[in-house]
Symmetry: C2
């Protein structure tokens, strides 16, 4: 144990001198090579522990020409969505003998750029971008330096892998669920220009058609925020015929819808069923009990890690797009319509 911080951390050479062997032997031991006698191994390990030796990753990165680190740039830590994604990445990466290090840009393009640059300068072996808002050119530039995958957001760039959930299928599941309960007048409040809003809307429309309910299709403009749901619901309430069920673009907006219905003294799901998307903690809370669609967040993270690791080891040139299937989570906000 080295209590005095003014002195430099011990190096492999300090350990070697302590034991009276060469630095090479210490290196061999630290890396767990098996061409070492048990005696030397123990002596080296003891000395290393005594001195508080820690390998210097910077030096290792230099000489090995790789860091065994995967960089993760998280655009927004406030979004609980990423917590599970990161957990999936971290788990998979660790299993493969790599380590994950993260930076964040807080949804500010300039800061995200810096966050990615930091990772690149540290010479990470792979890069995961979690829903970047970063300028496209910078993403492409990064992907030229190191294998890169985007998770949670689709991309058109030909060199970049991506992992997303199947928003369209998720939306179809919602409609199927509602139809099964007996609903026909099912409206949609969309997510405006948000990521994933369009495919969710498309899925809604397709499923309605499939169920021969094209005449009941009713889609109004909303957003991914609480007031988007609020505004959308008010628009629907202003119409002559009320829907018996509403599929809202995401959970947060769905909460906005619930509030409006609360204020209007409409019962959920008695008068109207409500469905969100994303299965956030908000939806899971007993108070909301919101039926929603669960993105396989952990698996998405794991998949991102696997794509990166595979790209590192095989040097695959073509991009891969993983699209994972979401899952409907039925709760108390949906039920059969009053007949």
């Amino acid at each position: 144990m080295n209590g005095d911080r003014t002195m430099r951390p011990p190096t492999i050479l300090d350990v070697a001198n302590e034991v009276g062997v060469s630095k090479s032997l210490v290196s061999l031991v630290m890396r767990g090579s098996d061409g070492v006698s048990p005696m030397s191994r123990k002596a080296v390990l003891d000395a290393a522990a005594k001195l508080g030796y820690r390998p210097n990753a910077a030096a290792q990165t230099m000489v090995r020409q790789r860091s065994y680190a995967i960089g993760v740039m998280v655009s927004d830590l406030h979004n609980p969505f990423f917590a599970d994604v990161i957990d999936g990445i971290d788990t998979a990466v660790t299993e493969a003998g790599y380590r994950a290090i993260m930076t964040t840009g807080n949804r500010v393009p300039e800061r995200e750029h810096l966050a990615v640059a930091t990772l690149l300068e540290m010479r990470v072996d792979g890069l995961v971008l979690a829903s970047p808002v970063l300028a496209r050119e910078h993403v492409v530039a990064a992907s030229q330096a190191v294998p890169t995958v985007i998770v949670g957001k689709a991309t058109r760039a030909p060199t970049i892998d991506s992992v997303t959930n199947d928003d369209r299928r998720g939306a179809e599941m919602v409609v199927d669920h509602l139809v099964e309960l007996g609903h026909r007048r099912i409206a949609h409040i969309d997510g405006g220009l948000g990521a994933g809003a369009k495919p969710r809307r498309t899925g809604y429309i397709r499923a309605m058609r499939r169920h021969r309910l094209e005449s009941e299709i009713r889609s109004v403009r909303g957003s991914f925020a609480e007031d988007g749901g609020d505004a959308g619901m008010r628009a629907l309430l202003a119409e002559s015929r009320l829907p018996t069920a509403v599929f809202v673009a995401n959970d947060l907006a769905a909460i906005g819808v619930l509030e409006v219905l609360d204020a209007e003294e409409l019962d959920v799901p008695g008068d109207i069923s409500v469905v969100g998307y994303d299965n956030t903690a908000l939806a899971a809370s007993h108070r909301s009990g919101l039926t929603t669609v669960d993105q396989p967040r952990h698996d998405m993270g794991r998949m991102a890690a696997e794509l990166i690791l595979e790209k590192i080891s095989t040097d695959r040139a073509t991009a891969r797009r993983a699209v994972l299937l979401p899952k409907l989570v039925a709760r108390e906000s949906t039920g059969p319509p009053r007949s």
Copy 2:
């Protein structure tokens, strides 16, 4: 731009050869030294851009004997509390010319240990631990290698700085607020063994005494989870005299309380006022409209960064404890008692 990933990233030497100058000059330019002629500067910068040169942080760390990186170990990304804290850290650290890199341990001591080790091996210049659940000895060991600060959790270790909010004062503010509204029968549902539970309880008791309400003190056992609030509220309901207000250990537990009151058809705040702690998104949501106590999360992060940076540059030996003042946020879950 270097499109082919099979070749190594360009080094300072490649840039030097391209221009026909020495590596030293390139180094000077990259670091923005002013003893360089404008002509050389431009030539070097152009060549660097053309080749897609990025400084190698590992090499820099080696020779400079410092990384200009601050490591942040986040115990739990699921807790939205940390998003703001990290943002504060990131902002302050960036302003000072450092970069923040993060790892996470997902509340698993073993993984947190690894997360800290990763940072230490990367030779970060300072370490921030966000509510670690890590074994104490490992924290102490880390603090011997590098300046360390714990944020969001108190510590007794003499070498370690910490940043917390003043839980006791926060609790007192809650009682003051309720008393001001006219309440006297104010109960408390505590956070069990959770971090910060004890000082919140103490603050409640002290404030009650200060208001000459010692006879009204009523504190029951709960936890920091939804069912803790649930159980605590049921215990209170089982008693003969209902309180007119309840101060719950945190927001999540307070949501549990709201649910029970909902189920019992008791009006909030008409029949009973409810207060939480932490000002999470849950509390802010219109549906809950929960009066709560806001920890200055961003400032806590900033303070943590400042403590670290100061410790790095001054090599201060003694520990510092920063205790920041929280703020009461009054919402719709509190009001005057029915008289």
